[in-house]
Amino acid sequence: MTGALFAQSLVLGILLGGLYALLAAGLTLYFGVMRVVMIAHSAFLILAAYLAWFFHERSGLDPLLSLVITVPLFFVVGYGMQRFLVSRLRPISLTTMSVLLTFAVALTIEGLLGFVWTGTQRRVQLEYSGTSIEVFGVSIAVVKLIAFALAAVSLGALYVILRKTSFGRALRATTQHPEAARLVGIDTDRVAGLGFGLGLATAAIGGTALSLDYTIYPSLHWHWIGPLMAIIVVGGLGSIPGAAIAAMLLGVAASLLQVPLGTTWAQTVFYLALFVTLMIRPQGFFGGRLAQRF
């Protein structure tokens, strides 16, 4: 691999890693707060991408503007989904049953997308779709840069919400010790609902970013959920910084391996990392003690 190619792959990997990081943060949030394995996370991601595409088709405006609608919408849907679906599961079997429940939700979304917009592949065409900028001989597509910036800003916002707000402290308390959280007066059911909404809002942002640069079709979400699940296990279930670090590392690794191995084989790096993690450090590499309780 030449130096230029390496640099190019590295930059692409970092840009992709940013998007993975945002999406994995949402996924690990559901697990941390509610012990829910949210298979439908990436289906909502693709739904948001479709909504961005449709918004652009109809209005001719930039698909990024669809965020104004999809982020609040997904937040509300997430809150409702937690309060009216997930919270109905029995606590004792919540984690396993949540796999089935959210699997069904994913299939429903996929089916609806196919029903409404058919299985045809869709792609947003923008004036800046083909443009790229050159930095030190590395060419970076503007759309990838926008997607990365969106992911980075959202992750930063998520960090501030969790660290600096009263709601964030309540959410972290609920994650770390649900019983003690109730005993200091936190309404843990409400916090769980809002946490779910927050997770789904990250899917809305990720989907919009995705729509700028990817050809989308209803079953695309299956390509995303596997790597994302692997990332949150490697990072340590429930740990948002862990998810972000693992996402960045694995995103870069996958991007670098694409050159010698090709796209398909490069994807296996996520699963290899998953196997290695489960074998030598099942609680994850960057996570807290949360995962050790399982």
């Binding site: 010790h177 003690a180 005993l183 007066g185 003690r289």
Partner: protein, 262 residues
């Protein structure tokens, strides 16, 4: 949520004999799911500025009493009265507002938060910032260690130190009664001694304590009133020193449980 009026901070007269109890559980029946009842007509009272200790064998229902009192478990029947107000069936949040604070069994700090965050979360339901500052000062003067380790991660502290953080957190609402579930569990003798010394300090600061302990002898030494639980009822109750001297207690704990034979 409005800030509730501050209870009298200094020690109220410790022995006004006819004082209305701060907490009264009357004829409580409670259990989990469809399983058999754990509490079968239990009654207990906690007077102002006193330490009441529940002792008894495993499965006697000691922790369940606290869960009913703090609203974590709804009783099937019976009554919970706090300071003259019937609070039966209220949620933990509502009971916190009426002056009950519960420190659960085992480690209950938020391990990946700092001591400061833990203590301030104790005042989650208190909106008045100056009140929070005032109480922070109060709990750090009561538990100096909490102030010393203010910025440390709570999960990195020793078991005994974590207990102090939990105590400090529970006092941030200035409760009338604190419910302590086996505070000495898993602690070495030195840490246990500190914990019991602090239970007395809470009492001296005007907070009544309802304490559950496995370590009966040690707990009764720290308590004013003792209640011996067995099979979901209070069997014996009386001044703690009397219980310590009571041969029946020794029989129950040291000589097996002959009463159980039908």
């Amino acid at each position: 949520m409005a800030s509730e009026p501050e209870p009298v901070p200094a020690a109220a007269p410790a022995s006004s004999p006819a004082a209305e109890p701060l907490l009264r559980l009357t004829d409580v029946q409670a259990g989990y799911g469809r399983a058999a009842l754990v509490l079968r007509g239990l009654s207990v009272t906690v007077a102002p500025s006193s330490v009441v200790c529940l002792v008894g064998p495993n499965g006697a229902g000691k922790s369940t009493v606290l869960k009913v009192a703090s609203g974590m478990l709804k009783p099937r029947s019976g009554q919970v009265v706090v300071d003259g107000v019937d609070v039966t069936g209220r949620t933990p949040q509502q009971l916190l507002a009426s002056g009950l604070s519960h420190v659960p069994q085992g480690h209950s700090v938020f391990p990946e938060m700092t001591v400061a965050e833990n203590v301030l979360l104790g005042a989650y339901s208190v909106r008045d910032r100056s009140l929070v500052a005032e109480r922070t000062e109060f709990v750090t003067s009561l538990f100096p260690l909490v102030g010393e380790r203010w910025g440390a991660l709570a999960g990195a502290l020793s078991g005994g130190q974590q207990k102090q953080v939990e105590f400090a957190r529970s006092l941030m609402v200035r409760p009338k009664v604190v419910l302590l579930d086996e505070p000495s569990m898993g602690l070495d003798p030195k840490a246990t001694a500190i914990v019991f010394e602090q239970v007395q300090r809470m009492r001296d600061a005007g907070t009544a304590v309802l304490l559950v302990e496995q370590n009966a002898r040690r707990a009764l030494e720290a308590a004013d009133v003792g209640c011996v639980l067995d099979l979901g009822r209070v069997h014996i109750t009386g001044p703690a020193p009397d219980l310590l001297a009571d041969p029946r207690l020794a029989q129950l704990y040291l000589g097996g449980r002959p009463k159980e034979v039908p």
